[in-house]
Symmetry: C2
Subunit: 208 residues, 2 copies
Amino acid sequence: MSDDEARRMSAEDRREQILAAASVVFGERGYAGGTTDAIAHEAGVSQAYVVRMFGGKENLFREAAERASRLVLEAFRTTAAGFTGDETIHDKRMALGFAYTNLMSDRGTLLTLLHLFSLGHDETFGPLGRACFLDVYRVTRDEAGMSAQEASDFFAQGMLTTVLLAMRMPDAQDDPAAMDLMTCTFGEQVTDLIRLTQMQTPLGTSAR
Amino acid sequence: MSDDEARRMSAEDRREQILAAASVVFGERGYAGGTTDAIAHEAGVSQAYVVRMFGGKENLFREAAERASRLVLEAFRTTAAGFTGDETIHDKRMALGFAYTNLMSDRGTLLTLLHLFSLGHDETFGPLGRACFLDVYRVTRDEAGMSAQEASDFFAQGMLTTVLLAMRMPDAQDDPAAMDLMTCTFGEQVTDLIRLTQMQTPLGTSAR
DNA sequence: TCCGGTTGTAATCGAGTGATTACTACAGTT
DNA sequence: AACTGTAGTAATCACTCGATTACAACCGGA
């Protein structure tokens, strides 16, 4: 991505770099649409190396999805750990919501998760997606101390936020209806999220 | 799907049949993952015919997505047309929510839309997805008479519902956390939606 | 300095997939 | 009955993509 000269790095670093690239590509094109070649190109290595290091596309997607899930989990855990216990539900929503939208700067992370969730029928990724989702749900309930209804409302808003960003709704900001919807859904972070989305230009090669 | 002997039907009927099949396949596997061959098999025709009738996979997906969007739009319009004007917001949410989840029985329709929304970066499908979404939003605002905030909340719940069904969360009903979440999110329609999901077994061939 | 392990690539293979072509079978019309 | 347009398919092509193989380049020790 930004490394012209970075040959022969440690396998561990290369791994993380490829996972980050996979997150971007899978986030944009989904599992079926994301090619190992595009990921390799994004990471600046050869396609053969990507495949061999992860033992196949399926394992690569699994690890990329698990990484994305872990990032969300850690963000929520960290935020919840800062709670004193006398926050209002509004305070909690704002704090966790901010932590969530902060993950948007890691372009691809949340979109990869969304793609994982859309594979519910898959024998491998279906159970994985449900497990990842429920992990985050449990943290929200148990560590952030939300009730079931509060958590449902919070996740609902999070899902709409994620889908609006996946569909690049900020690109339609000339439409007043789109602005109305985004203003209500994104709340205080409207301008930030719109600006962020428009900085994130699609992959180099024409998509699909 | 259910027609062994139905040869030589009118092009118009065949068209609708193929679109319904495409909705199922694209809903399950997404645009990139859904093959014209799987759609042809689901519709009981040859792959060549599918491609020729729609002039390519891209056009087929576009028409399938537009059909799905139209189904949602019509369901909302019909429901809103029955409003007298003195419904509470709770009444409206319940009525539109019921209309929405009723669309779930058309397996594939809402999942195809979700996949369309995940293609926001695409030069063709991005604008289409945003337009479809905003059409439904405007009907909810203008014809069902919801405020911006009410519509945002309603769509948020709808998105979470859709994603939970896409990930087949009902398959995890043994997990108490999953049941908590679904009970709060689906409301009165928990049992219906869970039963419906479990009737909808994946496509014949192993997925992906 | 040679050596062995690790990082990495070029070349290529085979399966899957969208598209095209050339063809067949049927139904309505005169 | 012959004609004509429409519904539909088998066969096959061209290309993409994941995977494999064989090899090269680099580096740290003994």
